[in-house]
C-alpha cells in the first residue's frame, strides 16, 4: 500500500465525486482526483499523476511518470501484488 503508481488521466467520469478513468500499466481504473483540485485548475485528461490507494496524490510530468514506472517494474513481486490489488479495485 505504500507505493505510488503513475497513470495517465483518460477522462473525468463523475464531476461531483471527482472520479476519473486513469490508464495505469495498461489497465483502466477509476481513481479519485479531488486532491488535485488546487488553485484554478484540477487534473485534466492527458495529465500524468501518481496514484496511491485509489487517489491521485500529485501531478508529475511524463518523464517522471515513465521513470517511476520503470523503477516499479524492477521491484518485481511487490509491484505485481500492488497491481493485482489495483486491478481488483472497482471505485464508483
Amino acid at each position: 500500500m505504500c507505493l505510488a503508481i503513475p497513470g495517465q488521466i483518460v477522462e473525468v467520469v463523475d464531476e461531483v465525486n471527482r472520479l476519473a478513468t486513469v490508464e495505469v500499466a495498461g489497465v483502466r481504473r477509476t481513481v479519485n482526483i479531488a486532491l488535485l483540485d488546487v488553485g484554478e485548475t484540477g487534473a485534466a485528461p492527458g495529465d500524468w499523476v501518481l496514484i496511491h490507494v485509489g487517489f491521485a496524490l500529485s501531478k508529475v510530468d511524463e518523464d517522471e511518470a515513465r521513470a517511476t514506472l520503470r523503477l516499479l517494474e524492477q521491484m518485481g513481486a511487490d509491484y505485481e501484488q500492488e497491481l493485482e490489488e489495483l486491478k481488483a479495485s472497482v471505485i464508483e
Binding site: 500500500m1 505504500c2 486532491l35 490507494v53 496524490l57 500529485s58 508529475v60 524492477q74 501484488q81 481488483a88
Partner: protein, 371 residues
C-alpha cells in the same frame, strides 16, 4: 559498481558516488536516517549503500506504516473482524501482521469475513453493496494515506452510508522523529526526508530538525539517483556546517504541501492525545482519530474495541530496529525463526520494513561488497 548500470542514468550515478567520496571527511563517521520505508527498499534493491564510503551509514527510520502498528492495535482489528455481521476490510499488507494470538489471515481462515481492498473507496463500495452488513475499514498510514481515508469518510457522510466505519490508526511523521532526536540512544547526523508524505504536508514541517536540533535534511524522491543526490546534499551541509531543509524532490513536493489534502484532514480528523507506536512506546499527539463530526463513522465508537496494550514477543527486536539501534541482521531471530513467509515482527511483514528489505536483498551481515 554493482547495480549502478541499472540506474536511469548510470553515468550520473557514478558521478554522484564519486562526488560523495570526494566530499566526506575521512576521519568522521556519518549516520544518516532515511525516514521512509520506500527509501530503505530502494537503497537495498539498488545497492545504493554499496556506492557510499564506508564511513557513511544508513540508519533506518520509523516511516513504514505497517511496521509501527503495535500488537494491541492489530488485536483490536482482529476483534472487530470477529464481530458478527462485520465485513472487515484492510490493505493487503495488514493480513499477515501478527497479533498476540493470530493474524487477520488466521481470522479469515476461521470464518471471519476479511477482505483486502486497494482503496478505502473500495471498502465504501462494499458497504453500499451489502446494506445488511457492517463494513469496517482498517485505516493505516502516514499523511500520505490519511487524506484518502478522509475523502472517503466525507463521501460516506454525504451519502449517509451508515453501515460503514473506520478503525482509524493513521499516524503522523513529525512526533516520532522528534522522539528519536530527543533520545540519547542513537546519534544521527542528518535525514533523508520522506518524499510522499511531503507531497501532502510540504517541506516546511521538517524545519524543526535543522532549527531545533541543528541537523540537515533533504526531502528525497525514490529513484536511486534521487537518494544518492539527497545523501550528497546532506553530506555537503554537514561538511560546510550548515543545517537546513533542502528539497531534492521539488519536482513533486511543494514547500507548503497540498492545501486540499490538509483541509480535508483537518475536517475529518483530530489529534489523539497519545498513541502507542511499536518500538517507540506512547507518543503524545502522534496519531489521528475521527473528529466529533464524524463520530458516527468511528468503529471505536460503534463497537467495543479491546484496546489492550500488548507487549511485543520476547524474541522480537522490531523496536530496536525501528529506533535505528540495531540493524535487522543483529536481531537473533532474523532470517531463522523470522522470515517474510513466517514473520514474527512487523518489520519482516511489509516489503517497506527494514528486515524484509535486508532479507529480500541478501543482507545477512555487516560486510559490504568491496568496490
Amino acid at each position: 559498481m554493482r547495480f549502478v548500470d541499472e540506474f536511469r542514468d548510470a553515468e550520473l550515478g557514478r558521478a554522484l558516488a564519486e562526488e560523495i567520496h570526494a566530499t566526506v571527511e575521512p576521519e568522521r563517521h556519518y549516520k544518516i536516517m532515511e525516514v521512509c520505508g520506500g527509501h530503505t527498499h530502494a537503497i537495498y534493491k539498488y545497492g545504493v549503500d554499496d556506492l557510499l564510503p564506508s564511513n557513511v551509514e544508513f540508519v533506518h527510520g520509523p516511516g513504514c506504516p505497517v511496521c509501527v502498528i503495535p500488537m494491541g492495535r492489530v488485536d483490536d482489528g482482529i476483534a472487530l473482524a470477529h464481530e458478527p455481521g462485520v465485513i472487515f476490510t484492510c490493505f493487503g499488507d495488514m493480513l499477515r501482521v501478527p497479533g498476540s494470538t493470530e493474524t487477520l489471515l488466521d481470522a479469515k481462515a476461521q470464518g471471519a469475513d476479511v477482505r483486502i481492498v486497494y482503496s478505502p473507496l473500495d471498502a465504501l463500495r462494499i458497504a453500499k453493496e451489502n446494506p445488511d452488513r457492517e463494513i469496517v475499514f482498517f485505516a493505516i498510514g502516514f499523511e500520505t494515506t490519511a487524506p484518502s481515508t478522509a475523502l472517503t469518510l466525507r463521501r460516506a457522510k454525504a451519502e449517509g452510508a451508515r453501515n460503514f466505519s473506520v478503525i482509524c490508526s493513521h499516524v503522523t511523521i513529525v512526533p516520532p522523529l522528534r522522539a528519536l532526536l530527543e533520545s540519547p540512544e542513537v546519534r544521527l547526523d542528518g535525514f533523508i526526508g520522506p518524499g510522499h508524505v511531503a507531497t501532502v504536508i510540504g517541506a516546511r514541517p521538517f524545519q524543526f530538525i535543522p532549527e531545533q536540533y541543528g541537523k540537515p535534511l533533504a526531502i528525497s524522491g525514490f529513484e536511486p539517483l534521487d537518494v544518492l543526490q539527497s545523501v550528497l546534499m546532506v553530506l555537503r551541509q554537514l561538511v560546510e556546517a550548515r543545517a537546513e531543509v533542502e528539497n531534492q524532490y521539488a519536482r513533486v513536493v511543494p514547500w507548503e504541501g497540498n492545501p486540499r489534502a490538509l483541509e480535508i484532514m483537518d475536517e475529518v480528523f483530530t489529534l489523539r492525545d497519545r498513541f502507542e507506536w511499536r518500538g517507540l512506546g506512547f507518543i503524545s499527539e502522534s496519531a489521528l482519530r475521527l473528529s466529533d463530526d464524524y463520530a458516527e463513522w468511528d468503529a471505536e465508537e460503534r463497537f467495543a474495541v479491546p484496546d489492550v496494550r500488548v507487549a511485543d514477543p520476547k524474541a522480537c527486536q522490531c523496536g530496536e530496529v525501528l529506533r535505528g539501534v540495531i540493524k535487522p541482521w543483529e536481531c537473533k531471530v532474523f532470517g531463522t525463526a523470522c522470515t517474510p513467509e513466517r514473520p514474527i515482527g512487523t518489520c519482516m511483514v511489509s516489503s517497506e520494513g527494514a528486515c524484509a528489505a535486508y532479507y529480500n536483498y541478501g543482507r545477512f551481515a555487516r560486510e559490504r561488497e568491496v568496490l
